[in-house]
Symmetry: C2
Subunit: 654 residues, 2 copies
């Protein structure tokens, strides 16, 4: 993607950006405040900027008259960067240069770590899990009429040095016809053993040379969403990728309500059918789009949390939600995908990621395996944040894990105007340090409908840094702005968007209960990390690297997350985002047996801690119920920043 340079005046701050981005999003990332309250759709007309050098695309609306446009005014939310440009932000009279020159940290998200097939190979991690081998067998004659299976097996033994070969019954059934379709020229699909003493399973025989067509599916079954990748096992390329909502949502939004539904008469069978249907739709779409033959799919590697895994397999999950929280199994044997009615060939083998405990499931194990943290020496904190947060700490020598219930705040739950990161959700935010007017953008640049998790996190952290709320999350009642007010039931709130600028015909606000819920959520996670570290005799300061997995991690403003005390303070360059870790692990495991070889040991050696059984968890939790924490000395950079800001504000009273 082509980049361009954008300079904001009077801040005199320059940032390199991808062409096509809107100026308002660029400004947010640069730490430049522009009043904006309509979410980025050009409605409020507040985000006027003046072009000084260069030009932008679009950026005009009925909110700007012809004269303004001629002068060079544009709306930042509509203006798209097309090349190097310098723009001036009209500054409110009351703000002087000192405020502008405050050291505002540009927004930093986690580095996205990508993995590719070649790097797997370079690292020696590539052990082909599937081989397609073309054979030209000698047709049987009177002098050599050994059985068809023996003919195939002896050729593979002699030509390819493969031993302990075994065929499944359905394959034996198809073998005689397939061998004779092209005069005993055939391609065998061999699933290689994970252990050296294991069996080579011949799962498919196809007439002719089909050795170039070797594919696998990787599948992440989330409570909310299901993602699938179609992988070319020869090139490592991803030939297709699809996601969809998990249709089980109609039976309950979270795992607990799913389990409760499964306990009803026929409930388990229903939930299994529903997820199988979702997966089958993905399979069929992805195969149709890619034009790849179902017969060429050798494996489907699946990761899901423990509940999703048990529901997929129709294993009663009732004990997962009842103390002492016992899953059915850690490891599951490979099985024919068609045996659970997946619309794949009879020979396609389903492989499941193992589970650690009721709340640390195959998705997390997959993420740990995919991220490679189990192979590295750095002490790593692996974090997957959602309603439940899963935490893994360790390195190549040891691993410990736990899960804690953060509550749904990060997904917009329990927040008065909370919502998922869907169209109209406020996802980024800034605050004028003098007028306390907001700058906000929404998902899809639509009229605001609510606040999503990343927006919430950013606004609360920023309000704390700017003194709008204190470290208990209470508003500074003395600030001179009508946006802070006592709302219904005497609960104080900040008005983010006024009624007429919203999509929902109500003021969208952030109130003290919302903030309290967010603090509870981040407190649960932070104290989970603290407790887990303490159990293994370590402290937060020893963390050398953070790996964020899950959708939330990609949007998170790392400085804000540290400000809030969600993440420990660490050099943001040492925070890595791996995206959907669960899908990453299944992708990688589809490509190399190294993952399956290692995963059994990793799983068996990962120590699980149940926080409910760890007395220090509650005291850690109480201590984490402040922004960032009762012990601010754990956050030295934030403390320094706050001190600088206080000094700057006292020098420039509003």
């Amino acid at each position: 993607m082509e980049t361009a340079s954008v300079t904001f005046l009077p801040h005199n701050r320059t940032i390199s950006v991808n062409r096509g981005e809107t100026l308002i999003r660029v400004a947010l990332r640069a730490g430049v405040h522009i009043n904006a309250s309509c979410g980025g759709g050009g409605v409020c007309g507040k985000c006027r900027i003046l072009l000084e050098e260069g030009s932008v695309g679009e950026g005009v609306s009925e909110r700007l008259d012809a004269e303004d446009i001629a002068k060079g005014y544009r709306l930042a939310c509509l203006a798209k960067v097309e090349g190097d440009v310098t723009v001036r932000v009209p500054v409110e009279s009351s703000i002087d240069a000192a405020v502008l020159n405050q050291p505002m940290t540009p927004r930093r998200t986690a580095k996205i770590k990508t993995f590719d097939f070649n790097s797997l190979k370079e690292k020696g991690l590539f052990i082909a899990p599937v081989e397609k081998i073309y054979l030209e067998l000698k047709p049987p004659d009177a002098a050599n009429n050994m059985p068809d299976v023996s003919r195939l097996v002896s050729a593979l033994r002699q030509q390819n040095a493969l031993h302990k070969l075994e065929l499944t019954l359905p394959m034996i059934r198809r073998l005689p016809a397939e061998l004779r379709r092209d005069d005993f020229r055939v391609t065998a699909t061999v699933i290689k053993p994970v252990r050296d003493d294991g069996k080579n399973l011949i799962t498919n025989i196809q007439a002719g040379d089909r050795s170039g067509e070797s594919y696998a599916l990787a599948l992440d079954i989330g409570t909310t969403t299901v993602y699938m990748q179609l992988i070319d096992l020869i090139s490592g390329a991803i030939k297709g990728e699809r996601g969809d909502f998990n249709s089980q949502i109609s039976y309950g939004e979270d795992v607990i309500s799913r389990i409760m539904y499964a306990e009803k008469e026929g409930g388990l069978a229903t939930l299994q059918s529903v997820i199988i249907a979702t997966i089958n739709q993905l399979i069929n779409k992805i195969l149709k789009t890619s034009g790849i033959d179902r017969q060429n799919i050798a494996t489907i590697t699946i990761a899901g949390n423990t509940t999703m895994t048990q529901l997929l397999l129709a294993i009663d999950p009732r004990h997962l939600r009842r103390a002492p929280y016992v899953p059915a199994a850690m490891l599951y044997p490979p099985f024919p995908a068609s045996s659970i009615r997946l619309e794949l060939a009879d020979h396609t083998i389903a492989l499941l990621f193992p589970q650690i405990s009721s709340y640390v499931g195959g998705d997390i194990v997959s993420g740990v395996m995919g991220s490679g943290m189990y192979r590295d020496s750095e002490l790593t904190l692996f974090l997957d944040i959602g309603t439940n947060a899963e935490i893994v700490i360790g390195n190549k020598d040891w691993l410990a894990c736990t899960a804690c219930s953060a509550g749904p705040a990060f997904e917009g739950g329990g927040i008065e105007f909370g919502m998922r990161a869907a169209k109209g959700a406020i996802e980024d935010f800034s605050l004028d340090p003098v007028t306390w007017e907001p700058m906000l953008v929404t998902v899809g640049d639509a009229k605001p409908r609510g606040i999503c998790g990343s927006g919430l996190l950013t606004m609360v952290a920023l309000m704390f840094e700017m003194g709008v709320i204190d470290n208990t999350g209470k508003f500074n009642r003395s600030l001179k702005t009508a946006r802070i007010r006592e709302g219904h039931h005497g609960i104080w709130e900040y008005v983010l968007v006024r009624r007429d600028e919203t999509e929902i015909d109500r003021d969208i606000t952030l109130n003290e209960l919302d903030i309290e819920n967010l603090i509870r959520a981040k407190g649960a996670i932070y104290s989970g990390c603290m407790t887990l570290l303490a159990e293994v005799g370590l402290g937060m300061e020893q963390i050398e690297r953070i790996i964020l997995a899950g959708g939330f991690g990609s949007y998170i403003d790392l400085d804000k997350a540290m400000t809030l005390g969600l993440l420990p303070e660490i050099d943001p360059d040492r925070v890595i985002f791996i995206g959907n870790g669960s899908l990453l692990g299944t992708w990688m495991s589809s490509l190399t047996n190294r993952i399956r070889k290692d995963v059994v040991d990793v799983t068996k050696n990962m120590t699980n801690f149940e926080l409910s059984e760890t007395p220090s968890y509650m005291s850690n939790y109480v201590a984490a119920m402040f922004i960032p924490h009762t012990e601010i000395e754990k956050f030295p950079r934030l403390r320094a920043r706050l001190a600088a800001r206080r000094k700057s504000l006292s020098a420039n009273p509003a």
Copy 2:
């Protein structure tokens, strides 16, 4: 069974018999001729004997008047031995003492070899294939909430030193509920690995202590009949045994016609369904009768010929009947019995005996394994005689096998009055050396309907020994008896039963074409043995032991079979009958893993010869088209007997 001593006068021949036997059958076994033509039902009234000492049960009919009865006359076919008895056979005037004192060999059948569990154990052959292990697991608590599978596996590992444990998916599905049914007191069924490095498969978990209930099924699938045994794996006892006709008979009597049916649209599926239905009926009857719970059946071990095996598994058998006669597979992997719709629990594992070739199948391998010939050093000829005869020669060091088409003569096919060994079939026979009147008994002592294989063999051999036919099977036209006559189309025949004494209202005869067919059949088998021996550089005279398997073997009069040249001359004490060898092998394999451990090597090392590809077969066949053979020096005892008889006959001209 209580025995008694029966003495026949004037022959002065005494034989020890089981009480309850009829005198006519005792006489046949003793080599004493009594005229009898109605099959043993008391109809013809010819078989009168006179009681001289002791008494018999029954033996009276309307064919005897009160006076006769008072004198002590009885009908031998109705009279039952109740204690020691001496009877006189009314001798035709023309027979003198010399004839009576001819050294007639009493009829000798093969020794029945039985095997029992204790002898398996004594021989060190017992390696338990299934273990039921009772465990009292510690219920999970907060301090130890490992997954259910892990809890089970770790107990088995620690308490029973079992490693490489694996559960199937259906078992994992049932595990959580089963563990909690009786507070974590459970019984695990473990299928032990055949090889030391194999896996221990946990196939079942039952609440409480069920370790005493461990059963297996053994199944022989014959082309005509299906037999099943229910085996107690702890005591080794057979808890039930059932047989039934293979319902596939309606679709063809022999394997070739079944294969042809399978090639039709939907034919294969039909044949599979039909045999599965037959097996399910057996399973259900045997379980009902024994009162044993289906859940306690760990395995079903199955042997059948190659066609029956492929039809059972729905594997297209078309290549079995077409050169170069290629079976689908030698070895089949274990699979869940329920996967082919056998009405057994999900966890019951089906195990199949391997196939050697299209015509030497799992039934023969099972017989070889069951008989133990592969462990002994004696050079053994294993013979299973039916429409197809399978021949295995070898010992613990090597094994070679072949199959030949004997034609259906031994099963009554191709014989004008041939029939299966069903009610009314002439099964045993003797001939008056002076009058040439017959003595015959039928299956069920009913009015004759035809001739079964063993009867045919006996009568042809006897006729040859007595000079009624020559070594090409042609009747001696000069004998003075109306029973030998030129029949329809100028074909000479012997009248076995006159029309009014039959059930079928026609004279039952044995004609020269019948004899020719029998000679072809025995010639095919004998030359099969010769050819196979020659291929491995040996001769018939080196055979140290003969093992007969299959139904035919139990009835066979060994001397007659040697006279005919069906079997090589060997001390009859070295001929062993193992009955249904296929069922024997499955029984044994159910009880000890030693069989499964050995069978792979035995099968792989058994050299199969296709007679059609062995040029010497045809010359051997031509040489065997005489009674007993062109080279009578191969049959020295027969030669001596014939010489003695000829001398006796010439000294006592009729």
